[in-house]
Symmetry: C2
Subunit: 110 residues, 2 copies
Amino acid sequence: MPDADGHPNREEINLPAVLHALADPMRYRVVATLVREPDGTERTCSSFGLPVSKSTRTHHFRVLREAGLIRQVDRGNSRMTRLRRADLEARFPGLLDLLASNAPAEPAAS
Amino acid sequence: MPDADGHPNREEINLPAVLHALADPMRYRVVATLVREPDGTERTCSSFGLPVSKSTRTHHFRVLREAGLIRQVDRGNSRMTRLRRADLEARFPGLLDLLASNAPAEPAAS
DNA sequence: ACGCAGGTTCAACAAACATCATACCTGCGA
DNA sequence: TCGCAGGTATGATGTTTGTTGAACCTGCGT
């Protein structure tokens, strides 16, 4: 059962939901960006420079969170986002490598 | 450039399109079914027993075809469907293994 | 105390999409 | 030649979903 924030535990992460979450360009960008950074990297939602409004951003991060791709934790004022690397690697070995080797450019960071 | 039937060539297959194609339960089922069969297996569209109408079936197979996941060839009266195993393995190594180890039950075949 | 930046919630809208019925085409077999 | 099964094309429809602005909450820094 997912926790109060909607995080599924490792066993609950299922491939169709993950694929569905990754099917959106915005969400794909977030995960593809995170996967290229060192393990444990934390970033704020707004640090990704997504070209959408705040509410849309909240929406996308919720989808990612509920699919089990990211973990969000309240850190004072901001909500920090981290890739669930170990969980995903355990559940779907090779998936992250796939995203890493197929990461699109991150416009906001260039 | 895709051929007349909308098949992209190997280099044109891109991950976001593939993920989008796999995000639908029906299409996921088709690919997850094909990936468990011997390489080169050919099946008709209707042999998957998808619980949808004929036109919907055509629609889903088109999406799969244009995403580069399957190859369809007119074989007399029927249009045979084959998984583009080599192309997918070359382009996204590990993706098919992922689907194979996470294949859902195929209701129509059980 | 105040402002502000980061996020959320809500209601609404627009685009994408899965679905279907109908009509149609095409080989194959009787 | 006729019927039929497999598929396609064309709207049309209803749902999903990505998108937004406005109102609001919450810490942090001044």
